[in-house]
Amino acid sequence: MRIVCENLSYTYNEGSPFAAKALDGVTLTIEEGEFFGVIGHTGSGKSTFVQHLNGLLRLPTSLKKYKPKKRKKSENEAPMSVLRVGEFDLTSKNTDFRALRKRVGMVFQYPEYQLFAETVEKDVAFGLENFAEKGQKPTEEEVKRAVSDALATVGLDYNEVASKSPFDLSGGQKRRVAIAGVIVTKPEVLILDEPAAGLDPLGKQELMELLHKIHGDWCKTVVIVSHDMDEIAENCTRAAVFSEGKIAMCASPKELFSHAEELLSLGLDIPLTAKLVLALKERGIEIDCDYTVEDFVQKVLARKGGRA
């Protein structure tokens, strides 16, 4: 599913003294098959953006219904917004959001805080049952198979945890269960907001491995929101930098981090490899790498070998 977004704007508390513009004319295309990164600091609009992708936040279509005079005026100011995810047109009122959400999964920040059921099995099966077509309730056998698959994907053993209360698990396990509850329907697009936040280093590493595993399998597109530039450099095919509701840059990590100064001026971090590339440049050594640790090390060693 290709994600096409043009001139997307969104304001919280529109019309009140607390109105806050969160998105301001965002135009962006995410191709099927990407592992896409969304960067920006808190309040840059990145979370608002991703919540549009499965219709949790919607374009204010009601404005178009009445006041035909005003409509013309505002159209002159802001051109028509476009938001399409695959064949779904999210600007239309008739979109089947349930069908959309079945195919576009979303993992929120700290997803373990959204667990609610008495057993892990019931919690993971929640989405499966909600998304089932009317009159086609999945059989017990089907539920069990899907839940067991989802748990296996996140590295948990069905026999061990399925009948436990999710609240008796450790923090890291809870997060895995929560993610299993989203991927149980095998969405084609998976969006994750800060999936690694609060995890320890090993937990982070395992989580990224998990995402790559499903990305190579049934999940065609992964979109992650992240603060961690090293994470972006090492995992993403492309990334968009949000700043004050607009897209400041959108490119592959290699290109993005070659504009390190620009990122720093936006108050954002750069990966450690980019910092080292900058420091080496000051010392007269140009390293042309894609900013992953492996490639950086290889290129540096090649310089040594090449000259020796």
Partner: protein, 281 residues
């Protein structure tokens, strides 16, 4: 002088006897004026350490000393005045909606006179660089700013030891830098002993000394450099090297002569020397 001392401290969560994270016969000292980083994976017992230090949790055995007085039920308030603890979630530590009202809370609790509370608010907000936000609404601050307010709220009690219990875990990189800088400043300028509990390996590099906890025990101790030079051992405690350590390791495995430095500029110097030295040959 020892600022904080644990002598054979035991602690067990009393939950049906299974799966408790305990502290086992823990011996641990922090000298006055030190900046100590406490590392460990989630559930290694590092947060329990913080909550034991100011008596929020009571130990099941052993002795905890703060500047030579033993922590008991009777001197709890005196100890808490000396040992300030800042917690993880920036949203869950403020009682008031306005910054100065919240910073005043601790000082009000120890019944200081009004003028002194005012002076303490000035001091605390200045120490964390939030003096412009005195009248601001807490809800509208960034995570890093909220956490600085939380630190100020503890500073208003003028503690001699400050424990940051994973206070950076929920922040973005900018917020993390803010908190790390505040902690360093408090240590260097206000001469406050700092215990920095974290699972961001990079943050340990700020410290004079680092300890690694695993299953309620201290398993490694030394300068951050010493600790990170023992990478194999770190891995067995479910910890990884900071990224810069990984790069150093890969470079030296590839035959480059770099030390286990943990500083970007030093590493760049060493790489440059190695490459240029080679090319000069």
């Amino acid at each position: 002088m020892h600022a904080l001392e644990f002598r054979n401290v035991d602690f067990a969560y009393s939950e049906e006897g299974k799966r408790d994270f305990c502290i086992k016969k823990l011996n641990f000292t922090v000298e006055e004026g030190e900046f100590v980083a406490v590392l460990g994976h989630n559930g290694s017992g590092k947060s329990t350490l913080a909550r034991l230090s100011n008596g929020i949790l009571a130990s099941d055995g052993g002795e905890i000393r703060v500047f030579d007085s033993v922590l008991t039920d009777k001197n709890l308030f005196d100890i808490r005045k000396q040992v300030g603890v800042v917690f993880q979630n920036p949203d869950n530590q403020t009682v008031a909606s306005i910054v100065e009202d919240d910073v005043a809370f601790g000082a009000e609790n120890i019944a200081l006179p009004r003028e002194e509370i005012g002076r303490r608010i000035d001091f605390a907000l200045k120490a964390v660089g939030m003096e412009e936000f005195r009248r601001a609404t807490v809800a509208r601050l960034s995570g890093g700013q909220k956490q600085r307010v939380a630190i100020a709220g503890v500073l208003a009690l003028k503690p001699r030891i400050m424990i940051l219990d994973e206070s950076t875990a929920m922040l973005d990189p900018k917020g993390r830098r803010e908190i790390a800088n505040v902690a360093l400043r408090l240590n260097k300028e206000e001469k406050i002993t700092v215990l920095f509990i974290t699972h961001f390996m990079e943050e340990a590099l700020l410290a004079d000394r680092a300890v690694v906890m695993n299953r309620g025990e201290i398993v490694m101790e030394g300068t951050p450099r010493e600790i990170f030079s023992r990478h194999e051992e770190l891995l067995t405690y479910n910890l990884t090297l900071p990224r810069i350590g990984r790069i150093c390791k890969s470079l030296s495995e590839g035959g480059m002569s770099v030390n286990d430095t943990l500083d970007i500029d030093t590493l760049a110097d060493e790489i440059a020397r190695d490459i240029k030295g080679d090319s000069a040959l």
